[in-house]
Symmetry: C2
Protein backbone atom coordinates (compact mmCIF):
# COMPACT_ATOMS: atom_id res chain seq x y z
CA UNK A 1 0.00 0.00 0.00
CA UNK A 2 2.94 2.30 0.74
CA UNK A 3 4.45 1.47 -2.67
CA UNK A 4 1.14 2.18 -4.38
CA UNK A 5 0.95 5.44 -2.46
CA UNK A 6 4.41 6.48 -3.68
CA UNK A 7 3.60 5.51 -7.29
CA UNK A 8 0.35 7.46 -6.99
CA UNK A 9 2.36 10.41 -5.71
CA UNK A 10 4.97 10.29 -8.47
CA UNK A 11 2.74 9.84 -11.49
CA UNK A 12 1.54 13.02 -13.15
CA UNK A 13 -1.78 13.87 -11.53
CA UNK A 14 -4.77 15.08 -13.44
CA UNK A 15 -6.09 17.80 -11.16
CA UNK A 16 -8.84 19.54 -13.12
CA UNK A 17 -10.52 20.70 -9.88
CA UNK A 18 -7.52 22.60 -8.50
CA UNK A 19 -8.74 25.77 -6.82
CA UNK A 20 -12.35 24.55 -6.85
CA UNK A 21 -14.30 24.15 -3.61
CA UNK A 22 -16.35 20.97 -3.53
CA UNK A 23 -18.82 20.30 -0.71
CA UNK A 24 -20.17 16.78 -0.20
CA UNK A 25 -22.82 15.60 2.25
CA UNK A 26 -22.51 11.98 3.36
CA UNK A 27 -23.97 9.30 5.61
CA UNK A 28 -27.39 9.07 7.24
CA UNK A 29 -29.00 11.57 9.56
CA UNK A 30 -30.34 10.62 12.99
CA UNK A 31 -33.69 12.06 14.02
CA UNK A 32 -34.24 11.91 17.78
CA UNK A 33 -37.45 10.43 19.18
CA UNK A 34 -36.40 10.90 22.83
CA UNK A 35 -33.04 10.94 24.68
CA UNK A 36 -32.32 7.29 23.75
CA UNK A 37 -34.26 6.49 20.56
CA UNK A 38 -33.91 7.73 17.01
CA UNK A 39 -34.95 7.16 13.42
CA UNK A 40 -32.22 6.60 10.87
CA UNK A 41 -31.41 4.66 7.69
CA UNK A 42 -28.87 2.12 6.48
CA UNK A 43 -26.54 4.58 4.73
CA UNK A 44 -22.92 3.79 5.64
CA UNK A 45 -21.46 7.01 4.22
CA UNK A 46 -19.05 5.01 2.03
CA UNK A 47 -20.14 6.59 -1.28
CA UNK A 48 -19.90 10.15 0.02
CA UNK A 49 -16.50 9.50 1.56
CA UNK A 50 -15.30 7.91 -1.71
CA UNK A 51 -16.48 11.01 -3.58
CA UNK A 52 -14.57 13.23 -1.13
CA UNK A 53 -11.42 11.20 -1.81
CA UNK A 54 -11.97 11.37 -5.60
CA UNK A 55 -12.61 15.13 -5.56
CA UNK A 56 -9.51 15.68 -3.41
CA UNK A 57 -7.44 13.57 -5.81
CA UNK A 58 -8.74 15.77 -8.63
CA UNK A 59 -7.28 18.77 -6.82
CA UNK A 60 -10.36 20.21 -5.13
CA UNK A 61 -10.66 21.77 -1.67
CA UNK A 62 -13.17 19.34 -0.17
CA UNK A 63 -15.58 19.90 2.72
CA UNK A 64 -17.41 16.81 3.91
CA UNK A 65 -20.63 17.40 5.87
CA UNK A 66 -21.14 14.05 7.54
CA UNK A 67 -23.90 12.33 9.47
CA UNK A 68 -22.99 9.67 12.09
CA UNK A 69 -20.77 7.06 10.38
CA UNK A 70 -17.85 4.90 11.43
CA UNK A 71 -15.42 5.97 8.72
CA UNK A 72 -12.10 7.80 8.87
CA UNK A 73 -11.93 11.27 7.34
CA UNK A 74 -10.28 11.07 3.88
CA UNK A 75 -6.85 12.66 3.88
CA UNK A 76 -6.80 16.35 3.08
CA UNK A 77 -10.56 16.84 3.44
CA UNK A 78 -12.25 19.10 5.96
CA UNK A 79 -15.03 17.31 7.84
CA UNK A 80 -18.00 18.82 9.70
CA UNK A 81 -20.03 16.33 11.78
CA UNK A 82 -23.80 16.72 12.14
CA UNK A 83 -26.58 14.48 13.43
CA UNK A 84 -30.01 15.64 12.32
CA UNK A 85 -31.31 16.78 8.94
CA UNK A 86 -31.86 20.26 10.32
CA UNK A 87 -28.23 20.50 11.45
CA UNK A 88 -27.10 19.27 8.03
CA UNK A 89 -29.41 21.76 6.30
CA UNK A 90 -28.03 24.72 8.25
CA UNK A 91 -24.41 23.67 7.73
CA UNK A 92 -24.96 22.92 4.03
CA UNK A 93 -26.47 26.34 3.33
CA UNK A 94 -23.56 28.07 5.08
CA UNK A 95 -20.90 26.10 3.20
CA UNK A 96 -22.70 25.96 -0.19
CA UNK A 97 -22.61 29.73 -0.69
CA UNK A 98 -18.82 29.52 -0.94
CA UNK A 99 -18.72 26.26 -2.97
CA UNK A 100 -18.25 25.70 -6.69
CA UNK A 101 -19.73 22.21 -6.68
CA UNK A 102 -22.18 20.73 -4.17
CA UNK A 103 -22.80 16.97 -4.11
CA UNK A 104 -25.72 15.84 -1.93
CA UNK A 105 -24.84 12.23 -1.25
CA UNK A 106 -26.19 11.98 2.32
CA UNK A 107 -29.30 9.90 2.94
CA UNK A 108 -31.15 12.68 4.72
CA UNK A 109 -34.23 11.70 6.70
CA UNK A 110 -37.30 13.06 4.89
CA UNK A 111 -39.16 13.31 8.18
CA UNK A 112 -38.24 14.08 11.76
CA UNK A 113 -40.23 13.54 14.93
CA UNK A 114 -42.49 16.56 15.44
CA UNK A 115 -42.24 16.66 19.18
CA UNK A 116 -39.02 15.22 20.61
CA UNK A 117 -39.60 13.91 24.15
CA UNK A 118 -37.27 15.34 26.79
CA UNK A 119 -37.47 12.18 28.91
CA UNK A 120 -37.35 8.59 27.72
CA UNK A 121 -40.88 7.69 26.62
CA UNK A 122 -42.32 4.99 28.94
CA UNK A 123 -44.09 2.19 27.18
CA UNK A 124 -47.63 2.30 28.36
CA UNK A 125 -50.02 1.61 25.53
CA UNK A 126 -50.31 -1.23 23.11
CA UNK A 127 -50.05 1.27 20.27
CA UNK A 128 -48.29 4.55 19.93
CA UNK A 129 -48.61 7.24 17.28
CA UNK A 130 -45.47 9.01 16.22
CA UNK A 131 -46.18 12.22 14.34
CA UNK A 132 -43.47 12.93 11.79
CA UNK A 133 -43.03 16.28 10.08
CA UNK A 134 -41.15 17.02 6.86
CA UNK A 135 -37.52 17.95 7.07
CA UNK A 136 -36.14 20.80 4.96
CA UNK A 137 -35.06 19.68 1.48
CA UNK A 138 -31.32 20.37 1.58
CA UNK A 139 -30.39 19.83 -2.07
CA UNK A 140 -33.38 21.83 -3.31
CA UNK A 141 -32.51 24.65 -0.91
CA UNK A 142 -28.92 24.75 -2.19
CA UNK A 143 -30.10 24.63 -5.83
CA UNK A 144 -32.36 27.63 -5.23
CA UNK A 145 -29.63 29.86 -3.78
CA UNK A 146 -29.10 33.08 -5.74
CA UNK A 147 -25.37 32.33 -6.08
CA UNK A 148 -25.68 28.62 -6.53
CA UNK A 149 -22.93 26.07 -6.99
CA UNK A 150 -23.14 23.27 -9.59
CA UNK A 151 -25.52 20.92 -7.76
CA UNK A 152 -25.47 17.13 -7.95
CA UNK A 153 -28.16 15.06 -6.24
CA UNK A 154 -28.54 11.39 -5.47
CA UNK A 155 -31.64 9.25 -5.72
CA UNK A 156 -31.92 6.00 -3.76
CA UNK A 157 -34.95 4.19 -5.05
CA UNK A 158 -36.48 0.76 -4.74
CA UNK A 159 -38.59 0.95 -7.92
CA UNK A 160 -38.81 2.92 -11.23
CA UNK A 161 -35.33 4.25 -10.57
CA UNK A 162 -34.75 6.24 -13.80
CA UNK A 163 -38.18 7.85 -13.81
CA UNK A 164 -38.07 8.97 -10.17
CA UNK A 165 -34.49 10.22 -10.56
CA UNK A 166 -35.15 12.37 -13.65
CA UNK A 167 -38.29 13.77 -12.07
CA UNK A 168 -36.34 14.65 -8.93
CA UNK A 169 -33.60 16.37 -10.97
CA UNK A 170 -36.11 18.58 -12.82
CA UNK A 171 -38.31 19.34 -9.83
CA UNK A 172 -35.37 20.42 -7.66
CA UNK A 173 -33.44 22.18 -10.45
CA UNK A 174 -30.35 20.00 -10.06
CA UNK A 175 -27.56 20.04 -12.63
CA UNK A 176 -27.04 16.30 -12.36
CA UNK A 177 -28.42 13.29 -10.51
CA UNK A 178 -26.93 9.89 -9.73
CA UNK A 179 -29.47 7.15 -9.12
CA UNK A 180 -29.14 3.71 -7.63
CA UNK A 181 -31.45 0.89 -6.77
CA UNK A 182 -31.25 0.25 -3.03
CA UNK A 183 -33.63 -2.69 -3.24
CA UNK A 184 -30.98 -4.69 -5.04
CA UNK A 185 -29.14 -6.74 -2.39
CA UNK A 186 -25.72 -6.21 -3.99
CA UNK A 187 -25.82 -2.45 -4.47
CA UNK A 188 -26.84 0.61 -2.54
CA UNK A 189 -26.54 0.95 1.22
CA UNK A 190 -23.83 -0.50 3.39
CA UNK A 191 -22.11 -2.58 0.72
CA UNK A 192 -18.75 -1.91 -0.92
CA UNK A 193 -19.93 -2.08 -4.51
CA UNK A 194 -22.64 -0.22 -6.33
CA UNK A 195 -23.88 0.76 -9.79
CA UNK A 196 -25.20 4.17 -10.84
CA UNK A 197 -27.32 5.71 -13.55
CA UNK A 198 -26.33 9.36 -13.99
CA UNK A 199 -28.59 11.92 -15.65
CA UNK A 200 -28.10 15.57 -16.62
CA UNK A 201 -30.10 18.01 -18.74
CA UNK A 202 -29.05 16.65 -22.14
CA UNK A 203 -27.38 13.36 -21.40
CA UNK A 204 -27.09 10.27 -19.28
CA UNK A 205 -24.52 7.59 -18.56
CA UNK A 206 -24.65 4.23 -16.83
CA UNK A 207 -21.74 3.47 -14.53
CA UNK A 208 -21.78 -0.31 -14.21
CA UNK A 209 -21.18 -2.26 -11.02
CA UNK A 210 -17.82 -1.44 -9.49
CA UNK A 211 -16.29 -0.55 -6.14
CA UNK A 212 -17.67 2.65 -4.63
CA UNK A 213 -14.23 4.26 -5.01
CA UNK A 214 -14.09 3.41 -8.74
CA UNK A 215 -17.63 4.75 -9.19
CA UNK A 216 -16.73 7.89 -7.25
CA UNK A 217 -13.70 8.50 -9.47
CA UNK A 218 -15.86 8.11 -12.59
CA UNK A 219 -18.62 10.30 -11.20
CA UNK A 220 -16.18 13.08 -10.27
CA UNK A 221 -14.89 12.98 -13.88
CA UNK A 222 -18.46 13.26 -15.23
CA UNK A 223 -19.23 16.10 -12.81
CA UNK A 224 -16.02 17.92 -13.78
CA UNK A 225 -16.87 17.68 -17.50
CA UNK A 226 -20.41 18.97 -17.03
CA UNK A 227 -19.27 21.65 -14.57
CA UNK A 228 -16.68 22.94 -17.05
CA UNK A 229 -19.25 22.78 -19.84
CA UNK A 230 -21.77 24.85 -17.85
CA UNK A 231 -19.30 27.43 -16.56
CA UNK A 232 -17.40 27.99 -19.82
Amino acid sequence: ELVLGVIEHLKPQSTPLTGKRVTITAGPTQEAIDPVRYISNYSSGKMGYALARAARNAGADVTLISGPVSLATPQGCQRIDVKSARQMHQTALEVATRSDIFIACAAVADYRVGDIAEQKIKKSNEQMQLTLVRNPDIVAAVASLAQRPFVVGFAAETQDVARYAKDKMQRKHLDMIAANNVASPDSGFNVDENALQVFWADGEKTLPRASKQQLADQLIKLITTQYQHETN
Copy 2:
Protein backbone atom coordinates in the same frame (compact mmCIF):
# COMPACT_ATOMS: atom_id res chain seq x y z
CA GLU B 1 -1.41 -6.34 26.17
CA LEU B 2 0.21 -9.68 25.30
CA VAL B 3 2.07 -9.65 28.64
CA LEU B 4 -1.15 -8.87 30.50
CA GLY B 5 -2.81 -11.71 28.63
CA VAL B 6 -0.10 -14.15 29.66
CA ILE B 7 -0.24 -13.00 33.31
CA GLU B 8 -4.01 -13.36 33.21
CA HIS B 9 -3.56 -16.86 31.83
CA LEU B 10 -1.01 -17.93 34.45
CA LYS B 11 -2.66 -16.60 37.58
CA PRO B 12 -5.05 -18.98 39.35
CA GLN B 13 -8.49 -18.29 37.95
CA SER B 14 -11.61 -18.09 40.02
CA THR B 15 -14.13 -19.91 37.84
CA PRO B 16 -17.30 -20.19 39.92
CA LEU B 17 -19.46 -20.45 36.80
CA THR B 18 -17.73 -23.51 35.32
CA GLY B 19 -20.37 -25.74 33.73
CA LYS B 20 -23.00 -23.00 33.88
CA ARG B 21 -24.69 -21.73 30.73
CA VAL B 22 -25.03 -17.96 30.69
CA THR B 23 -27.04 -16.20 27.98
CA ILE B 24 -26.64 -12.46 27.48
CA THR B 25 -28.56 -10.17 25.13
CA ALA B 26 -26.66 -7.09 23.96
CA GLY B 27 -26.83 -4.03 21.74
CA PRO B 28 -29.82 -2.23 20.26
CA THR B 29 -32.50 -3.69 18.04
CA GLN B 30 -33.40 -2.20 14.66
CA GLU B 31 -37.09 -1.93 13.79
CA ALA B 32 -37.67 -1.51 10.05
CA ILE B 33 -39.91 1.30 8.77
CA ASP B 34 -39.35 0.43 5.09
CA PRO B 35 -36.47 -1.10 3.10
CA VAL B 36 -34.12 1.79 3.96
CA ARG B 37 -35.34 3.36 7.22
CA TYR B 38 -35.43 2.05 10.77
CA ILE B 39 -35.95 2.99 14.40
CA SER B 40 -33.14 2.21 16.82
CA ASN B 41 -31.40 3.53 19.91
CA TYR B 42 -27.93 4.62 21.00
CA SER B 43 -26.90 1.35 22.67
CA SER B 44 -23.37 0.39 21.60
CA GLY B 45 -23.49 -3.15 23.01
CA LYS B 46 -20.33 -2.50 25.05
CA MET B 47 -21.88 -3.41 28.42
CA GLY B 48 -23.36 -6.69 27.16
CA TYR B 49 -20.11 -7.66 25.48
CA ALA B 50 -18.17 -6.82 28.66
CA LEU B 51 -20.58 -9.05 30.63
CA ALA B 52 -20.00 -11.88 28.13
CA ARG B 53 -16.25 -11.54 28.65
CA ALA B 54 -16.64 -11.45 32.44
CA ALA B 55 -18.93 -14.52 32.49
CA ARG B 56 -16.56 -16.38 30.21
CA ASN B 57 -13.63 -15.50 32.49
CA ALA B 58 -15.67 -16.87 35.42
CA GLY B 59 -15.83 -20.20 33.59
CA ALA B 60 -19.31 -20.06 32.03
CA ASP B 61 -20.44 -21.28 28.61
CA VAL B 62 -21.60 -17.95 27.18
CA THR B 63 -24.13 -17.32 24.41
CA LEU B 64 -24.38 -13.71 23.25
CA ILE B 65 -27.59 -12.75 21.43
CA SER B 66 -26.58 -9.52 19.75
CA GLY B 67 -28.32 -6.71 17.93
CA PRO B 68 -26.41 -4.75 15.24
CA VAL B 69 -23.17 -3.46 16.82
CA SER B 70 -19.63 -2.88 15.61
CA LEU B 71 -17.84 -4.96 18.24
CA ALA B 72 -15.74 -8.11 17.96
CA THR B 73 -17.13 -11.28 19.54
CA PRO B 74 -15.42 -11.89 22.92
CA GLN B 75 -13.10 -14.89 22.79
CA GLY B 76 -14.72 -18.21 23.63
CA CYS B 77 -18.30 -16.90 23.45
CA GLN B 78 -20.96 -18.09 21.03
CA ARG B 79 -22.69 -15.22 19.24
CA ILE B 80 -26.08 -15.18 17.53
CA ASP B 81 -26.83 -12.04 15.51
CA VAL B 82 -30.37 -10.64 15.31
CA LYS B 83 -31.85 -7.36 14.11
CA SER B 84 -35.39 -6.82 15.36
CA ALA B 85 -36.93 -7.25 18.81
CA ARG B 86 -39.07 -10.10 17.51
CA GLN B 87 -36.01 -11.96 16.23
CA MET B 88 -34.29 -11.42 19.59
CA HIS B 89 -37.41 -12.59 21.44
CA GLN B 90 -37.63 -15.82 19.48
CA THR B 91 -33.91 -16.56 19.83
CA ALA B 92 -33.89 -15.68 23.54
CA LEU B 93 -36.77 -18.04 24.35
CA GLU B 94 -35.06 -20.88 22.51
CA VAL B 95 -31.72 -20.37 24.23
CA ALA B 96 -33.10 -19.44 27.69
CA THR B 97 -34.74 -22.84 28.23
CA ARG B 98 -31.27 -24.39 28.34
CA SER B 99 -29.59 -21.56 30.29
CA ASP B 100 -28.76 -21.29 34.00
CA ILE B 101 -28.46 -17.52 34.01
CA PHE B 102 -30.07 -15.06 31.57
CA ILE B 103 -28.89 -11.44 31.49
CA ALA B 104 -31.05 -9.09 29.43
CA CYS B 105 -28.64 -6.27 28.67
CA ALA B 106 -29.90 -5.40 25.16
CA ALA B 107 -31.72 -2.12 24.64
CA VAL B 108 -34.71 -3.73 22.97
CA ALA B 109 -37.10 -1.44 21.12
CA ASP B 110 -40.35 -1.26 23.07
CA TYR B 111 -42.26 -0.58 19.87
CA ARG B 112 -41.95 -1.66 16.27
CA VAL B 113 -43.62 -0.23 13.19
CA GLY B 114 -47.02 -1.86 12.81
CA ASP B 115 -47.01 -2.03 9.06
CA ILE B 116 -43.57 -2.21 7.47
CA ALA B 117 -43.63 -0.74 3.95
CA GLU B 118 -42.34 -3.05 1.22
CA GLN B 119 -41.15 -0.13 -0.92
CA LYS B 120 -39.35 2.99 0.22
CA ILE B 121 -42.01 5.42 1.47
CA LYS B 122 -42.18 8.48 -0.80
CA LYS B 123 -42.38 11.77 0.98
CA SER B 124 -45.63 13.30 -0.04
CA ASN B 125 -47.31 14.99 2.89
CA GLU B 126 -46.15 17.62 5.32
CA GLN B 127 -46.93 15.24 8.16
CA MET B 128 -46.87 11.50 8.44
CA GLN B 129 -48.27 9.25 11.13
CA LEU B 130 -46.24 6.22 12.09
CA THR B 131 -48.27 3.67 14.03
CA LEU B 132 -46.08 1.77 16.45
CA VAL B 133 -47.13 -1.43 18.18
CA ARG B 134 -45.67 -2.98 21.33
CA ASN B 135 -42.88 -5.48 20.96
CA PRO B 136 -42.89 -8.65 23.05
CA ASP B 137 -41.26 -8.16 26.46
CA ILE B 138 -38.25 -10.50 26.22
CA VAL B 139 -37.02 -10.47 29.81
CA ALA B 140 -40.55 -10.89 31.21
CA ALA B 141 -41.17 -13.79 28.81
CA VAL B 142 -37.99 -15.52 29.94
CA ALA B 143 -38.81 -14.92 33.62
CA SER B 144 -42.22 -16.53 33.16
CA LEU B 145 -40.88 -19.75 31.63
CA ALA B 146 -41.79 -22.86 33.61
CA GLN B 147 -38.14 -23.91 33.77
CA ARG B 148 -36.70 -20.49 34.19
CA PRO B 149 -33.06 -19.48 34.50
CA PHE B 150 -31.86 -16.92 37.06
CA VAL B 151 -32.97 -13.72 35.32
CA VAL B 152 -31.16 -10.38 35.45
CA GLY B 153 -32.67 -7.30 33.82
CA PHE B 154 -31.37 -3.86 33.03
CA ALA B 155 -33.12 -0.53 33.38
CA ALA B 156 -31.97 2.49 31.40
CA GLU B 157 -33.75 5.49 32.79
CA THR B 158 -33.56 9.24 32.51
CA GLN B 159 -35.37 10.02 35.78
CA ASP B 160 -36.35 8.34 39.12
CA VAL B 161 -33.88 5.57 38.32
CA ALA B 162 -34.15 3.50 41.54
CA ARG B 163 -37.94 3.65 41.72
CA TYR B 164 -38.50 2.63 38.09
CA ALA B 165 -35.89 -0.12 38.35
CA LYS B 166 -37.33 -1.76 41.49
CA ASP B 167 -40.82 -1.54 40.08
CA LYS B 168 -39.63 -3.20 36.85
CA MET B 169 -37.91 -6.01 38.80
CA GLN B 170 -41.06 -6.83 40.78
CA ARG B 171 -43.50 -6.48 37.90
CA LYS B 172 -41.47 -8.76 35.61
CA HIS B 173 -40.45 -11.24 38.35
CA LEU B 174 -36.73 -10.71 37.80
CA ASP B 175 -34.15 -12.05 40.24
CA MET B 176 -32.00 -8.96 39.91
CA ILE B 177 -31.92 -5.64 38.08
CA ALA B 178 -29.06 -3.30 37.19
CA ALA B 179 -30.07 0.31 36.66
CA ASN B 180 -28.28 3.22 35.12
CA ASN B 181 -29.07 6.79 34.32
CA VAL B 182 -28.76 7.30 30.57
CA ALA B 183 -29.52 11.01 30.84
CA SER B 184 -26.16 11.54 32.51
CA PRO B 185 -23.69 12.54 29.77
CA ASP B 186 -20.84 10.48 31.22
CA SER B 187 -22.63 7.18 31.76
CA GLY B 188 -25.03 4.98 29.89
CA PHE B 189 -25.09 4.55 26.14
CA ASN B 190 -22.11 4.61 23.84
CA VAL B 191 -19.52 5.63 26.41
CA ASP B 192 -16.77 3.50 27.91
CA GLU B 193 -17.57 4.15 31.55
CA ASN B 194 -20.75 3.75 33.48
CA ALA B 195 -22.16 3.41 37.02
CA LEU B 196 -24.85 0.97 38.16
CA GLN B 197 -27.32 0.55 40.98
CA VAL B 198 -28.09 -3.14 41.42
CA PHE B 199 -31.22 -4.40 43.20
CA TRP B 200 -32.40 -7.87 44.20
CA ALA B 201 -35.22 -9.12 46.43
CA ASP B 202 -33.51 -8.42 49.76
CA GLY B 203 -30.57 -6.27 48.90
CA GLU B 204 -28.95 -3.64 46.76
CA LYS B 205 -25.48 -2.44 45.86
CA THR B 206 -24.13 0.61 44.11
CA LEU B 207 -21.30 -0.03 41.68
CA PRO B 208 -19.61 3.36 41.32
CA ARG B 209 -18.33 4.85 38.09
CA ALA B 210 -15.78 2.58 36.43
CA SER B 211 -14.98 1.10 33.04
CA LYS B 212 -17.73 -1.08 31.63
CA GLN B 213 -15.41 -4.10 31.87
CA GLN B 214 -14.74 -3.45 35.58
CA LEU B 215 -18.48 -2.99 36.20
CA ALA B 216 -19.20 -6.19 34.25
CA ASP B 217 -16.70 -8.15 36.35
CA GLN B 218 -18.30 -6.83 39.56
CA LEU B 219 -21.81 -7.49 38.31
CA ILE B 220 -20.97 -11.07 37.31
CA LYS B 221 -19.61 -11.60 40.87
CA LEU B 222 -22.85 -10.22 42.37
CA ILE B 223 -24.94 -12.38 40.03
CA THR B 224 -22.89 -15.47 40.88
CA THR B 225 -23.37 -14.90 44.63
CA GLN B 226 -27.12 -14.43 44.32
CA TYR B 227 -27.47 -17.30 41.86
CA GLN B 228 -25.65 -19.66 44.24
CA HIS B 229 -27.74 -18.36 47.13
CA GLU B 230 -31.02 -19.02 45.30
CA THR B 231 -30.09 -22.44 43.92
CA ASN B 232 -28.48 -23.84 47.10
